[in-house]
Symmetry: D2
Subunit: 475 residues, 4 copies
């Protein structure tokens, strides 16, 4: 088996929640997860309650594989939460799938979590010293134990108690037998928004998860806010003191779907603007602008618009490629990229091509694509990247390669250009990136993987251990 996606950063999770009487809440959650599938393709789960019991289905695979035969369903179900998750092969264990369901003194809780707690290891150690057992390697279990140990009475107070002990990035949807709760970390790393159904409420990592079920977008959950939904309506609590905001800029660059709006900023518009500013910065002149589909397309159309150069399809993407395939012969090293992308000779032949992609992680794929274009007859290949060089790992829920795998951690732009054998190479500047945000304050963002300005003191993470602190990855 050969891993096709080893070259990219991966969003780790998407969370979802529905509270609605007289709706098929688990089916709505299933549709919501479909829309959030890009946030995690390794496992999926849905938990439901009818006010007394909870049921859950979790499994490895895509949403339509896990729920191929049926979505969990209870008569009179009215709350459901869901989760999709990315994870690397080594740790993609069934027992690490979410949502978890637990019993504690206050009843039942089910929890889905997106993000990464930077002090999870510390807390876990303390809890273990205190006699707690852990059955998974996911942060979620830490949060649940803190809830159970809280001396507070209501579940929302207990949750606040719990969240005030953890540090890092998280968005969660939590369900008891009669409440749906959503919460977002005080710095707002990951997105979470609220939608309204005719007679109910929805929580979703991205607004595209509301659109898919026809829910009306209400607003984003604020950093440090918790919303509690039950039969008496919706309530908002700020569980943590104000802090410097640090929303992940990479959501706008790559992770989120272009049709989502996060904190008031359209992802599409940000990307389109990145492309425009890239054109202004790079000043490349070429015959055509092409994208590395799909993630490069929005910025490419922006680039073409700004530069007044036609946008055309120079690379075709095979939409049926799954995450893995059986590697045929040792001879053909480039099969993985060739299987995914194909250059269109008649488009690029003899042309000076401006190729736009969102980011460069290790650089190997970009190099292969440049070569593919040259083989198809491109005269010149100028690569434009709609983000700055990634020089530092992420500790907030992204499965980053260890630092030494990041090409920009070791090489200058010119060295990278040589490595990928492009005629020119331009990365969007941090200033340009900030400028591309027109509807959100660019200073409320995290840019740490570009400038190492980590917004939260992240403890003593041993280099490269970010992902496997409990022997498994977290989400």
């Amino acid at each position: 088996m050969y891993e096709l996606l080893g070259n990219k950063w991966h969003e780790e999770c998407g969370v979802y929640g529905v509270f609605a009487h007289d709706e098929d809440v688990s089916a709505l959650t299933y549709l919501g997860l479909y829309a959030l599938q890009h946030r995690g393709q390794e496992s999926a789960g849905i938990a439901v309650t009818d006010g007394a019991w909870m049921d859950v289905t979790r499994g490895m695979g895509l949403v339509n594989e896990v729920f191929r035969h049926q979505v969990p369903h209870m008569d009179n179900q009215y709350i459901a939460i869901g989760h999709v998750r990315y994870s690397t092969t080594g740790s993609s264990l069934l027992q690490n799938t979410q949502p978890l369901i637990v019993n504690y003194s206050g009843g039942k809780i089910s929890l889905a979590h997106n993000g990464n707690l930077t002090n999870a290891m510390e807390i876990r150690k303390k809890l273990e010293d205190d006699g707690t057992i852990f059955q998974t390697s996911i942060d979620t279990e830490v949060i649940l134990n803190l809830i159970a140990r809280s001396r507070k009475e209501t579940v929302e107070e207990r949750l606040a108690d719990s969240l005030n002990q953890v540090k890092g990035a998280y968005c969660i949807t939590l369900m008891t037998e009669n409440k749906l709760i959503g919460a977002r970390d005080p710095q707002g790393f990951r997105p979470l928004c609220l939608g309204k159904l005719e007679n109910g409420w929805v929580l979703s990592s991205e607004s595209c998860g509301l659109d898919v079920i026809g829910a009306e977008f209400v607003r984003d959950i604020e950093p440090g806010e918790m919303v509690i939904i039950d039969d008496s309506g919706i309530k908002s609590v700020h569980f943590a003191p104000k802090q410097q905001l640090a929303s992940c800029i990479f959501e706008y660059i790559y992770f989120a779907r272009p049709d989502s709006v996060i904190d008031g900023q359209s992802v599409h518009d940000a990307r389109f603007m990145m492309g425009r500013i890239l054109a202004r910065e790079s000043k490349f002149k070429g015959d055509i602008v092409i994208s590395v589909p799909d993630s490069g397309t929005t910025a490419a159309t922006g680039y073409a618009y700004e530069a007044g150069i036609p946008f055309v399809e120079g690379l075709m993407k095979n939409r049926y490629i799954g995450r893995t395939f059986i590697q045929p012969t040792q001879k053909k090293r480039d099969t993985a990229v060739q299987l995914k992308l194909n250059a269109i000779r008649s488009v690029v032949e003899g042309k000076s091509v401006i190729m736009v992609d969102d980011s460069i992680v290790r650089g190997t794929t970009s190099g292969k694509i440049v070569k593919m274009l040259r083989n198809a007859g491109a005269k010149e290949v100028h690569m434009c990247v709609s983000s700055p060089p990634i020089g530092f790992p992420c500790y907030y829920g992204i499965d980053t390669s260890v630092r030494k795998e990041l090409i920009a951690a070791k090489k200058s732009v010119e060295e990278i250009r040589q490595y990928i054998e492009a005629d020119s190479l331009h990365f969007l500047s941090i200033e340009g990136l900030k400028e591309s945000l027109t509807a959100v304050n660019p200073n409320n963002m995290c840019y740490a993987c570009f400038n190492s300005d980590y917004p939260v003191e992240q403890g003593k993470q041993p280099e490269g251990s970010g992902k496997y602190v409990f022997e498994q990855r977290k989400c």
Copy 2:
């Protein structure tokens, strides 16, 4: 779907463990579970360790279904434990399969458990009040939490601490990164024995699990004993004060495999003797002795031997019948029994038949078999049961019907005879049952389901709730 086995008591679990360098310990565990399959057909699991990591595969189904493609395997693996489990449809959830693996302050533990703790609910409530969360509905999780909370240092002391807090029936195999531990409750309800490999040790619920891998039987684990196996050898600890023994007599009557020897008593010999004494007690005269296969066969051969009446096959059992099948037509009510058993007309026609079975739970199956024999031409059907009437539920690890489903709880022997439409009916007396044990002290046994003499004060179990104290069954 139609449940074929709804008429019987079911053994709830089998446990297994192997410690051996230079052996494929997980494959040996797989073979051991094959031999213990009769103790649980609903789920199976194997956990292994190589001294540093632990891996587990668990799933619903028979051993050869769960491990159809592969048995968990690590290079340098040298300890493995395994579990098979019976459970009713409602609660046969994947998350309730064993062995569990947890992390606690002392490292990793994997645990497999057979039995039923009568005070699990109480302890669990106390633990929950103290901030503990529970992710399954199995007693195993209670034991693991008590281990983690113990102030003792070694895992064996912690386990002793834990077991001294629980009441009821249990046999466990437990594994850390470098130890294999077996323990049996102080009253010895369930069996557990120790075997020796050339360079290693084996723990098995029944001795047939040793035979299958060619391990030499060493001895039974004593009630209240714990054996600890590691690289320094084997150590025995008595973790609890001596108590009145109460080994489950039903293991000899029905649960265990006839080729197993428990506490020095051959199961086959006990059953054969039950048949002989049954013949002496009943004094039935007939032309032939037949059994209800397979569970009635050993006693039937004993009956035939004692009575000097030929043993012949009057009923043929379809060996391919799984637990469930698709019910064809509403018209044919008796399909389930007919699918499983068929009378041989040429054998029973015109004959006075003595039919031997091991026990009667609800009586419906026996009634159908009697009718089947009459339809096949039997002149007379005299039923002999190699156990006394079951009048009371079991709280020690057996999935008993609630009391009101037990036919002997409501009807006299004569009423049962009329209900099953037999010409005569005889149940083995408790005295006869005791007499059938030739190699073990009959006074060290539990007979509670026959005489309500429960050996452990079992708390205030609400009638009928034995099985679902945590919403799910235990093992």
Copy 3:
């Protein structure tokens, strides 16, 4: 993977058919196949018609695996046929499963076939020379092509035409859109019987297939007879001239279920009688009679009866063993037999044991069982086989080993005894075998695998090629 059953002859197929308005005919066929499962465990299939369309489900595996989720079903279905099949790994291809459904000039036909045509290769060659293509390697396709090429008008005439061209052994159930037809070869090698439902008819390889659905046994289909069932009732045609009958004696010895009655002779009674005569012939004196379960049991009870020696269980069979399992260590060569059978020490220790089995093919299993008994303490092991030595292959539907694998083809009885290390060894004589048939004429039987008296001139079968004439096995 390790093949557990490599040591036995295997019946190749079972066929079934139901014609009944107002019955769930496909579900009844499913139950029938359950009862015939012992005739083939490798694949199963059911075809149904509602008078216009035909539907079929076929698959590899046991009946309850192939139909795990559902049995084929049509509204208004009223005819169904079914098939179970044994085959070795190499040729167990999905495309060789039955029933086949084809279109021909007369409409649709579905056919299930048990047996082996000795001139199939010849006919197939002729048909191929004439421009016919073959998509499977089963004889069934030859019969269907002959039907389609017949100049006759009705399907029954065409079938007669077809069957008059083939030689060898066959029992078939055939269905058109409005007829159910059963046919048996003129020498009657394989069994086929007719049963009656309240408002319909049933065809089954063995009578146990009638019992399971509560159908009344009517009679056996006669050799050379064809019965045609449609809305106008049932019709019988003798499609072939009288020939010397040659029913397979091995059906009585091993293949058929003991509760079946074939051509008026109870299989149980024949086996019981074989055991009795064996006792008379062998005159062995021992302490106990045990059987090699399950196939040896009936004869063993007969032996015990005749000899006046107690029948007891000395070997326990693991009922959960499937056809294959993962072989653990190279060290343990005997695992396969040990996994399947276990000796009961307390029964055999110090005893002179008379062990009864039905037949010896290669002798390796028998040798291991003798050794197992000795290891369990048996003083003497006297083996009694309820059939004569098998010295010759079968060409009539049995998956025989090539001749050189048959131990009796190369060794004398004394040599075999030495090979299996028994104290004595006795095979039933052919005369004794004939004498055991009390209800059927012993001269109407095939004994060719014992005496090479092949009842049909079987063409020039190259030695050892019997099984793979079309590269795949036939049924």
Copy 4:
């Protein structure tokens, strides 16, 4: 379950073939099928030969589902053929998957077929009258029977014989034990091209299937040509007299991948040109050009280029949507389209939008998309379709709806515009379509579904029966 793709015409099949010593030919075929996956998502199959034996794996589902665990493989394999197929639920039977493998007098043949024979029913009837049986409902079986019945000697002569009897559209890859043959019908309806490996040859429905394995494009197979590849090299035969060419224009409009080149014409360039001419014809003025992804994108970029209006992404497509999903609530009728596509409000709000798609079949999806854009704030929606109105069914291998489902068969352009509620609607003219072909002769094309000029006299096809002549669809 709800069918997501019910609104489109579907290409029915893709075929592939590799002949190469020292290459993993079945793995290469697997990669080729991946690239041809868009031509059929319902089933896939690969057959291989090592010169003596043939093996095949076929199954329902996508290429990576059917070959999830393994691709068929033989030591010394050197020829392989493959097939992907689309089919509607009703007839997506396992037995109709390809490639077929048959035995005939000349040996073994495996065949994969793309297209539709317009006289298959006639020939089949004649063959049936002549005694032939049919086991599938696919045209492939007719071709194979004609090969087997040919009096010619070599397989290529027999194939020529066979193909000269059939009418209609076909491209086939055929393999014997030592030859790989490709053939294309005399009118050239479907594409088939030839590629070269270092030491071998490849046949593929589209050139993208060569690119993926790094094979060099050699040329297209000519209409009426057959190429025969064996150890002596490659040979070309024209098996049929020259006829008026009639390549399917829909391959360029929609079916083929944009990165393929068919008969010298780049599919991308044709589509881009369709978009440009569409712009010239429609003269719509708007703020932005958007596409209905993915099929509308190439023409949309051409439109934007010609009109000088920016191309932007106004609709986001969920790439994870499989063919079916579980329909949630009855309330939400538009879920299917909403799940697949989402409008980007910030892009379309307040804008006059020119929306480009490739074709309109039933019009329901287009109507929903127009509505989606209006809900997202679009001021005006002008729809441009890069093909003429489809008024007539196809008989050449396309799964067309019956004529009455084609909206253009019943409604004028203005009526369609009203039905989909667009502000304007323009279809590309046939002249414009012809003009868009710059590298191939536009008069050598079939336009029958637009103008009913059927290039082959297609027999008396009863209306609507095109798809189910043998009760199942053909390919």
